[in-house]
Symmetry: C2
Subunit: 436 residues, 2 copies
C-alpha cells in the first residue's frame, strides 16, 4: 500500500508555478520567434528538424482524411468523435443564441443620436494542438468548434509532427481549413508573423507546454491569444454519502496528465471519507501498476503531485468551503455534496472554470463531450477569465451616429470644457467646428 | 505655410511600433515588478521617489473630494463631467442589457442533462490613469464606469503623483473605492502583487506609456489585463462635400497627443479635398503657433507624425477603401462620405475600434461623452480585440449537470473510447464508475 500524503498548504500550492527558470526560457522563446519572423519557412524547417527530428511538412489536412481514416482509425472512435462534435457544436450554438453574439444593438440617446455596437467574427484563427505524450484529439474539437460557430472564415491548426491520424481526422470532422505539422514556440511564431507559405492569423488559442505559453505571451499584442494554460486542477466537494472509489478515480484522472505540477483538492465535512479516499487512491495505483495500465514512473509522478500540490481538507461549513474554492479558483470543480448542499454552495462560488454538479457529472464528461470547451482557466486565472467560448472569436466595433441630432451645442460645450482641462486644444476646436 | 508631407506607405506605418529598444525596457519593467513583489511598500516608495520625485502617499480619494472640488475646480467642469458620467453609464447599462450580461443561461440536452453558464463580475479591478503631459480626467470615467455597471465590488485607481484635483473629483463621481498616487510600471506591479497596505486586484485596465504597457504584459497571467494600448490613430473617409477645415481639426485632435507616434489616414475619392485639407492643416498649425495655443515643439511633433506615420490616399471605389481600412484596422474611423456611401461602407468594415458616422459625429465626442469607452484597440489590434466594455469585467463558469439523466451509458462508452485513444486510462475509468 502506498501511503498517500498531501500538502494541505494552499498558499504553497498556488505558488507552484512561479519559477525562476522562466527567464531563461523567455530568451529561448524570443530567439525562436525573432528567427522565424526574419527567416520564414527556412527557420521553421530548421527548428522542426532540431526539436521534432522531422521534415517541415506543408501538407494540408483535407486531401488526406479519407485515406487515413480507412487505414488507421476504428469506426467506433470516428463515431464517438462525431457524437462529441455534435454535442460541443450544440452547446456553442446555444452560447451564440443566448448571449446574442453577432447581433448588434443600438439605442437612441437624448440628442436623437444612435449609439450601439456591431459584432464581427475574427477573420482568421490558429488552434494549437499539443502532441507530446498523448495526442489530444479532443482539443481539436474544443478549440475549432467554438471558432467555427462564431463564424471565423479561416481556421488553421498547428500540431507537432508526426501528427496522429486521429488529430487529422478530427480536423477534417470540424472543417479545419489548414493543418500544419509545426509545434512548440515555432508554431506560435508562424501564427503571429507568417512565412512565405503560411499566412499569419489574428489570434492563436489552445493549450501547450511552457514554451508554447511563453511564446503566446511574447506575441500577444501583435496577435490575440486566449490565455495561458497551466497544469490541470480539480477540486471535489464531497458529502458523507459520496463514494471514495469514484472520488479517487476522478482525482486520478486529473493527476494522470503527467506534468508533475497537477493539483487536486478534496474538501469534505467527513474525515472518514477523506481517509477512505486516500486508501482507494493507494489501492488503485497499486492495481494499475500491476496490470501495467501505468508505469512506475507515471505512478511516481502522481504520488509526487499528491504530496506536493494537493490538499485534502475537512471543512466545517459550506461558507468556509466556498471561501477556500473562491480563493483557489480551480479549473474544474465537482460538487458531490447531495442535491441541496450542491445548490446552496453553487450560489456561493464565483471563481472556477467549470462546475460539474452531482455524482454523475464526472469531470471526464467535460473533457470530451459534455459541451463546453475543455480549454479552461488554470492557476487561479478563473478569478479574471473564462473558458474558451464563441465570444473569444468575436469582437465589437462601437458605433456613434449623431447625424440626425438637430443640435448638439450643449455637448460641444461640455466636450470643449473637459478637453481644455486636459490641455487638448484641438479636441475642443474639432468639436467647435460642429456648432450650429 | 508649412508644407504638409505624408508617408502614404501603409506597411511602413503599421510597423512603426516594432522597436529593438523593447528588450532593454522589458528588463527595466521586470526589475521593478520583481522588486515590488519582494519589497512591498518600501520598494513602491523608493520607485515613486525615483521616478516621480514624490513621497509615496497612501491617501484614499473619498475624504478629499469635497474640499478639492471647492478649492480648485470650476462648477462648469464638474457639471460637464457629471453629464458625461451619465451618458457613459447609460451606454454601458444598454450593453449589459442587450448582451444579456450577468444572465446565466442553460438548456436541456438529449440525456436530460442541464448545460449552461453562470456569469459573475470580477471581485476587484484596478484602473490605470496616466498623468504625464496632461491629466486624463476622462479616462477615469471611461474605465471605472463599465467596471461599476458590471458589478465589480472593489475598484482601485492608480495614477502618478501629484494627482490632478479633477482626477480625484472624477474618482469620487464614479464611486472609486481606493485611489493611490502610484504610477508607471510600479503601479502595475502593485496591482498584480499587492503590498502590506494595498491588496492586489484580479485585473488591471487602462492606457499608459510603454513601461506601463510592458508591465501589463509582464504580469499577464498572474492577473488579467484588458490589452496593450499604443499611440492614437484616426482614419477619415471623406466625400467631395466634406469640409477641409473640419477634417483638418479632426486629424489634429489625434495628432496633438504628442507621443510622436500618432498616425492618421485620410481617404477620399477627391484629390482636391486631400490637397485642401493639407492647406488647412498648415494654416491651423501656423495660427495656433502664433496664438500660443501650441508650442513650436508641439507643432514639430505633429508635423513629424504627419510625415512619418500618416497617409492621405485617393481611392477609386468603396471596396478599395474598405480593404485599406480593414487592413489598417484603425482605433477610430470617421465616415464623412454622405449618408448613402456611409451606410454602404459600414457593412464592408470589419476591423476598427469605433466608427463615427456622419459629419456631426466628431471623434472628440467619443473621447469624452458619446457613451462607449474611449479605451480602444490600437496598432491593428482591432483585428482581434474590442474596446473596453462591461464584458471585460465579467467572466463565466461552465455548468454541467447530469444528475437527472436516467442513463448515460452511451456517453460513458464514447468518453472511454476517446480517452483511451488519448492514452488517458484514468479518464476512462472515472467515467466507467458511473455505469448503470
Amino acid at each position: 500500500m502506498y501511503s498517500i500524503k498531501t500538502n494541505d498548504n494552499l498558499e504553497q500550492i498556488s505558488k507552484r508555478l512561479e519559477s525562476s527558470e522562466l527567464d531563461e526560457r523567455y530568451h529561448t522563446v524570443k530567439t525562436i520567434v525573432e528567427d522565424i519572423k526574419n527567416g520564414g519557412d527556412k527557420a521553421v524547417a530548421s527548428y522542426t528538424q532540431k526539436f521534432d527530428g522531422q521534415e517541415f511538412d506543408l501538407s494540408k489536412a483535407k486531401p488526406f482524411q479519407i485515406e487515413i481514416r480507412q487505414q488507421n482509425l476504428s469506426e467506433e472512435l470516428c463515431l464517438a468523435l462525431a457524437n462529441a462534435k455534435n454535442r460541443i457544436e450544440k452547446f456553442h450554438q446555444e452560447e451564440f443564441k443566448n448571449s446574442k453574439l453577432g447581433q448588434g444593438w443600438s439605442f437612441m440617446g437624448d440628442y436623437q443620436e444612435k449609439l450601439g455596437v456591431k459584432y464581427t467574427a475574427l477573420d482568421s484563427v490558429a488552434c494549437y494542438i499539443p502532441g507530446g505524450q498523448a495526442p489530444l484529439i479532443s482539443t481539436v474539437l474544443m478549440t475549432v468548434i467554438p471558432a467555427k460557430v462564431a463564424g471565423v472564415k479561416r481556421i488553421v491548426v498547428f500540431s507537432p509532427p508526426p501528427i496522429n491520424p486521429a488529430i487529422i481526422h478530427a480536423c477534417f470532422l470540424c472543417g479545419v481549413d489548414e493543418l500544419y505539422a509545426v509545434g512548440g514556440a515555432q508554431a506560435i511564431a508562424v501564427a503571429a508573423h507568417g512565412t512565405e507559405s503560411i499566412s499569419s492569423v489574428n489570434k492563436v488559442v489552445g493549450p501547450g507546454n511552457i514554451f508554447v505559453s511563453l511564446a503566446k505571451k511574447y506575441v500577444f499584442g501583435k496577435i490575440g491569444i486566449d490565455g495561458i494554460y497551466g497544469p490541470s486542477e480539480l477540486a471535489i466537494l464531497a458529502g458523507k454519502t459520496a463514494k471514495p472509489e469514484t472520488i479517487a478515480y476522478d482525482l486520478l484522472s486529473q493527476l494522470e496528465h503527467g506534468s508533475g505540477l497537477e493539483s487536486v483538492l478534496l474538501l469534505s465535512e467527513s474525515q472518514e471519507l477523506i481517509d477512505k479516499t486516500k486508501d482507494k487512491l493507494s489501492e488503485i495505483l497499486e492495481t494499475s501498476l500491476k496490470a501495467s495500465l501505468k508505469s512506475q514512473q507515471q505512478v511516481d509522478t502522481i504520488l509526487n503531485s499528491l504530496e506536493k500540490w494537493s490538499a485534502f481538507i475537512a471543512f466545517n461549513s459550506l461558507e468556509e468551503a466556498a471561501n477556500i474554492i473562491n480563493n483557489y479558483a480551480p479549473e474544474h470543480l465537482e460538487l458531490q455534496l447531495g442535491a441541496d448542499a450542491n445548490k446552496k454552495i453553487l450560489d456561493l462560488i464565483n471563481n472556477a472554470g467549470a462546475i460539474f454538479i452531482g455524482t454523475k457529472s464526472c469531470e471526464s464528461l467535460g473533457d470530451y463531450l459534455a459541451g463546453p470547451s475543455h480549454c479552461l482557466p488554470t492557476a487561479a486565472s478563473a478569478k479574471f477569465s473564462s473558458g474558451l467560448q464563441c465570444q473569444d472569436f468575436m469582437k465589437k466595433i462601437s458605433l456613434v451616429d449623431f447625424e440626425a441630432s438637430p443640435d448638439i451645442n450643449k455637448l460641444i460645450e461640455d466636450v470643449a470644457l473637459i478637453a481644455r482641462a486636459e490641455e487638448l486644444e484641438f479636441h475642443a476646436a474639432a468639436m467647435e467646428q460642429r456648432k450650429s
